[in-house]
Amino acid sequence: MAKAATPPTEWRVDFATAAAGISIFTVAAGLTIGFVFGVASALLAFVTGALLGAILLVWHSLRTLAGDAEVDPAFEAAPAQAPSELDEQKRRALRSLKDIEQDHAVGKIDDADFAALDAEYRERAKDVIKEIDATLDPYRAKAEAMVQSHLEKRAAATKAEAEAAAAAPEETNACAECDTPNDTDATFCKKCGAKLTSES
């Protein structure tokens, strides 16, 4: 096996490979045994395979619980908020508008009733959307302020960086032996290896 060359501590099989391996092996072994020795033996092979699979799954579950296995980032994300009452109202109003439209199209609601109902529900849906917008406004303002402050900070940062870049050559830690510019925190010259004089 190719992996045997690497040191034992590096030898790892991830869960997906193990699961796929067990299932493929079980099916293959089961079918082969089934053809050669009969159904009963094949069932035993399946029992063995499935048992191994079950143990693997439970083992993986325990590992996940202990924090040793990777966790799907989708579960890590902050739990989605339950749709608020307003969202629900909006969804319902939209659904109603759609229903009214369909029922009008197939002739269950005549034109006059349709006009009245449609207008009423449009108004209602609009009210809800407006209300949602209104509740969102403070957040929007906050977000904008955050963006603004972030941009300002970045502008300041770039400015500072540019200044730093401008100032950088002066701070270069040139080698006393060969004159090669070195990083400021370097202890030895990267070209000739001579010890650099510490500045701090």
């Binding site: 699979g53 579950s61 799907d72 109603s96 199209a105 006059a112 109902l117």
Partner: protein, 990 residues
């Protein structure tokens, strides 16, 4: 031989229990803390549990295949001679194994559900998994402690097993229980969603949308399972009918009723945010009914209700039901504020409300229990006691709820948040009526099924209710539901314009009037008279009313079929017209030539097969039907599939309704059933309903394990020979004393000729026959196929916008073909017709000789009281025991000969053996409760619907009234929001 195998099996069950408990704990922890790794661990734990169950099932299969007769279950249900296929079916052939099979199907559902959930509904997931695991644990406990399929026989391994009951060794028995189980088990998934919604408090439409497909799937399999059960009874049991209102049948039917109610009422919550409590209750009730059904079928009380819950397994079920009830009831009370749309930020206030709700709810129940007990001790008649107890209970419940309700709405602006209803003539209202009728029907069946327990509690007599009772009462109830189905379709959401409603009534109205006129005029001539008078089940006014109503059932049933069918066809016509108007009708117009080609092919094919049709009319009907269907099908299917998914659900539902029309059409045929008994000598003729039967003589055949005696009958109709039917008796070597009855049938669209042979005298060759003419039965199976197709259309996965039309269409076509194939397979599988004694029960075994209709009606209202059988009806029981059915029938015949009337005989019989000897509980005293309680409850439910409607309407009038002028003003001018609205509307259905 693997010495420790039984131990291994037992250990596997413990492993399942352990893994499930671990998963339950982890998932609850995940739910409580919201930790991502806990949730993922729970998911893997669920997969692990599922795999352990699979290991257990495969291990049991191994035990069967390797004939490990040390296991009691294996020894009991298999033997060495069984073919390997039946060895696998033995997995669910008996109680212990069928519980494991139940668990296995449940775990398949769990696997699929966890997989499907994936990254969706992350908040609901932990509790969904936890609920499902709790159910798994219950079944594990049940198996480990009471019905372990891996338990060993006390006497050690035997040389050979007892073998599977021949009754179970046939095609329908192989597929019917699993399909019913799939339906039963499937109801656990919506229940788990409901519990998760309750625990997390996310009670908006989210969980309903999430579990919709699961609900529909379970519903469909309940329908398939029930239909297959009917087919099995019809083809195998040899008593000439398809439904006997057996407790087991009722148990399978009741969840179907609640699931149907749920499928409809969720639509109101989705649109209006109403009926939240009701929907939760319906889901839980459906789950309850499935467990209750399993309990009835698997507590060893299949054949009769008398040994109700006497085996130890019943106790576990009762405790599980009690535990579930307590849990759900408390949870619902706890979430009362959310369920009643009560929103506030004041946490402390909410907490008080929760405590108040829980406390009130429970104390309310607490008050009821001793109250009822006290009432039963009062010195008054039983009927008065029942009424008083119901009134007391109702009052307590109402007061309790009212207190909670007042408390919640106390000084809060609550009314304005209530959703409202514009108009009574709307689909919402008809859906309420639908729920009311379905639940009323459920209550009726439930009371009648559990009446032995109820009557014992009330009057100390175990009175079992027989088919004649159901048949009389079910006709009015069923027809009410059926008529609501058609009428409701005519209504639109929100508000139906009266003018439009009138217009919608015109076409079906004309169709039905023409049909009624034709039926009254021609019905008798064609052999389907419009009015059929039967026997009254009671004396007195009530009996007369029921009898008069039921006399009109054929006319009503037929005309409602026509009306509902016309309504649905009109619905589709309106759909196509609307699509044409909007320009969408042109899409797929190229399919018309395709349809025409199909149609031509179909006609040509049928003409080539002309010879195989029994009559010219049948041929004509089939040719016309097939060519029309082939012409329309491609375009019709294309349109269905390309509809946006909400509409597709709706029209799929209409197709289901269309299927139900056919099913009812078939049920109506019951009114014209002809049952005859006759004894024929060879070459003697017998005429019945236009059939000419000639008895050709007996014929005997032998094979390895049985002797078969056939009574061949040549059937001709209108002078042409239709074929030879060979009803038979099979004498198995293993059971020489109980010959099995082999039904032989000739199916046609008009009626089924159903022949059963009784005794054949070996010397004189004279044979006795039972002849049943069952009109229109084939239509039931046909309707069921359409119903399955419709529910598949409703469930069809949404087509992602990225997918092309061609792809969508081909998927649709594949689905349609698959469903048709499935349907045709189910309907036409040639199954050998078996019928045979099942174990010690004498249910439907052998043949009973009945001389005339008077005897039939008398015998079917009395039970055999010999004490060895399960108190079957005298019309079906074949006990030979002293005092058994045969003796009884002779005694009754003497009484008839002595000139006594049926009523007198029944009265004497009841005096001798008590009320429990009657199949129809007498219409007096406490026995009245059997129909009085459901009827009172139905009336109360009706009143409840009215109150609810008034309340909804009042909220719609009062606070919103002020906004009316604003809307009319606002409608005239468009603003930015209109554009946004249009955009969102476009996106709504994808």
């Amino acid at each position: 031989m693997w010495n420790t195998f039984p131990l291994f099996g037992g250990a596997l069950l413990l492993c399942v229990m352990l893994a499930a408990s671990y998963t339950l704990g982890v998932s609850v922890w995940a739910g409580a803390t919201g930790k991502a790794r806990a949730l993922q661990a729970a998911r893997f734990g669920a997969y692990g549990t599922v795999t352990f169950v699979a290991v257990a099932v495969i291990a049991l299969a191994y035990a069967f295949v390797s004939h490990d007769f040390r296991l009691r279950y294996v020894a009991h249900y298999s033997d060495r001679s069984m073919p390997i296929g039946y060895l696998f079916t033995a997995l669910w052939g008996g109680q212990d194994g069928s519980l494991l099979w139940w668990l296995f199907l449940l775990s398949l559902y769990i696997g699929a559900c966890v997989k499907w959930l994936g990254r969706r509904h992350v908040e609901l997931q932990p509790y969904i998994i936890a609920t499902l695991m709790a159910i798994v644990i219950f079944f594990c406990v049940l198996m480990t402690y009471s019905a372990n399929p891996f338990a060993t026989s006390i006497g050690g391994a035997r040389a050979d097993g007892e073998g599977l009951n021949p009754l179970l060794q046939n095609f329908y028995m192989i597929i019917h229980p699993p399909s019913l189980y799939i339906g039963f088990v499937g109801c656990s998934v919506p229940f788990a969603f409901a519990v998760a919604a309750l625990v997390t408090g996310r009670l908006d439409a989210e969980w309903i949308v999430a579990c919709r497909k699961w609900t529909l799937f379970a519903w469909m399999f309940l329908a398939i399972g029930n239909t297959l059960g009917m087919l099995w009874a019809y083809e195998e049991l040899g008593w000439g009918g398809y439904w006997a209102w057996d407790p087991v049948e009722n148990a399978a039917f009741m969840p179907f009723l609640t699931a149907s109610a749920f499928v409809h009422s969720v639509m109101i919550q989705e649109r209006r945010g109403l009926l939240k409590v009701w929907n939760i209750t319906l889901v839980c009730l459906t789950f309850f009914m499935t467990i209750f059904g399993t309990f009835l079928t698997r507590s060893g009380a299949i054949a009769s209700v008398h040994s109700f819950a006497q085996s130890s397994i019943g106790t576990y079920f009762v405790w599980f039901l009690v535990f579930t009830f307590v849990f759900i009831f408390t949870l619902i009370l706890y979430r009362w504020p959310e369920l009643r749309n009560f929103v506030t930020d004041d946490k402390a206030h909410i907490r008080t409300l929760r405590i108040a709700a829980v406390a009130t709810g429970w104390s309310m129940l607490g008050i009821c229990a001793p109250g009822i007990y006290a009432v039963t001790k009062l010195p008054m008649s039983s009927l008065a006691q029942v009424i008083l107890a119901s009134v007391l209970c109702g009052a307590a419940v109402y007061t309790g709820i009212e207190i909670v309700y007042r408390r919640i709405t106390h000084n809060v602006d609550y009314e304005s948040k209530r959703p409202e209803l514009e108009s009574i003539i709307s689909r919402e209202f008809t859906f309420l009526l639908n729920n009311w009728a379905l639940l009323g029907f459920l209550l009726f069946v439930l009371v009648a099924t559990t009446f032995p327990m109820l009557s014992e509690a009330i009057s100390g007599e175990k009175v079992t209710v027989g088919p004649p009772y159901y048949n009389a009462w079910v006709q009015p109830l069923g027809l009410v539901i059926f008529s609501l189905m058609g009428i409701g379709t005519l209504f639109g959401w929100k508000k139906t314009s009266p003018s439009a409603l009138k217009r919608a009534f015109i076409a079906p109205g004309i169709a039905v009037s023409v049909f009624i006129a034709l039926h009254l005029a021609l019905g008798k001539m064609l052999g389907f008279p419009a009015i059929v008078w039967g026997d009254a089940i009671y004396g007195g006014v009530l009996g007369t009313i029921l009898r008069s109503f039921n006399a009109f059932t054929p006319l009503l049933g037929f005309s409602l079929c026509v009306f509902n069918g016309a309504v649905i066809i009109q619905e589709f016509v309106m759909l196509f017209r609307a699509r044409k108007k909007s320009g969408a009708g042109k899409e797929g117009a190229w399919l018309w030539p395709v349809g025409f080609a199909f149609s031509v092919i179909a006609v040509l094919g049928l003409v080539l097969m002309r010879k195989s049709f029994p009559s010219a009319t049948a041929f004509g009907v089939i040719v016309i039907g097939a060519s029309l269907a082939a012409l329309v099908a491609p375009y019709f299917l294309y349109t269905l599939i390309s509809l946006p998914h909400t509409s597709r659900r709706r029209y799929g539902g209409y197709i289901v309704h269309f299927g139900i029309c056919f099913v009812f059409f078939g049920f109506t045929g019951k009114s014209w059933t002809v049952d005859r008994e006759t004894t024929l000598a060879p070459h003697e003729h017998y005429e019945v309903s236009g059939y000419d039967l000639e008895y050709l003589g007996p014929r005997m055949e032998l094979d390895v394990n049985k002797r078969m005696v056939f009574g061949d009958i040549a059937v001709s109709r209108g002078g042409t020979r239709q074929g030879v039917l060979s009803p038979a008796k099979f004498m198995y070597k293993k059971m020489p004393d109980s010959p099995t009855t082999e039904v032989s049938m000739m199916h046609s669209l008009r009626d089924d000729l159903y022949l059963v042979v009784g005794n054949i005298n070996p010397q004189t060759k004279v044979a006795s026959f039972q002849i049943h003419i069952n009109p229109l039965v084939s239509w039931i199976w046909f309707g069921a196929i359409i119903l399955i197709f419709g529910s598949i259309v409703s469930m069809w996965p949404e087509v992602a916008p990225a997918e092309s039309r061609v792809w969508a269409y081909s998927r649709g076509a594949a689905g349609a073909i698959a469903s048709f194939t499935l349907g045709i397979l189910l309907a036409s599988m040639p199954a050998p017709a078996w019928a045979q004694t099942q174990g010690t029960s004498s249910l439907h075994a052998g043949t009973v000789h009945i001389e005339n209709d008077r005897e039939r009606s008398l015998f079917s209202s009395l039970r055999c009281m010999c004490g060895t059988c399960a108190r079957d009806l005298l019309s079906t029981c074949t006990c030979d025991a002293p005092g058994g059915a045969n003796e009884m029938r002779e005694m009754l015949r003497k009484k008839i000969a002595a000139g006594e009337t049926n009523d007198q005989i029944i009265l004497e019989y009841a005096q001798q053996y008590g009320s429990e000897a009657l199949s129809i509980p007498p219409n007096r005293g406490a026995m009245r409760a059997i129909y009085a309680v459901p009827l009172v409850a139905i009336a109360a439910g009706g009143a409840g619907v009215i109150v609810l409607i008034r309340r909804w309407q009042s909220t719609s009038r009062s606070p919103r009234g002020s906004s009316k002028p604003k809307t009319s003003k606002g409608a005239s001018k468009r603003d930015d929001y209109d554009d946004r609205l249009d955009e969102e509307l476009r996106d709504l259905d994808g």
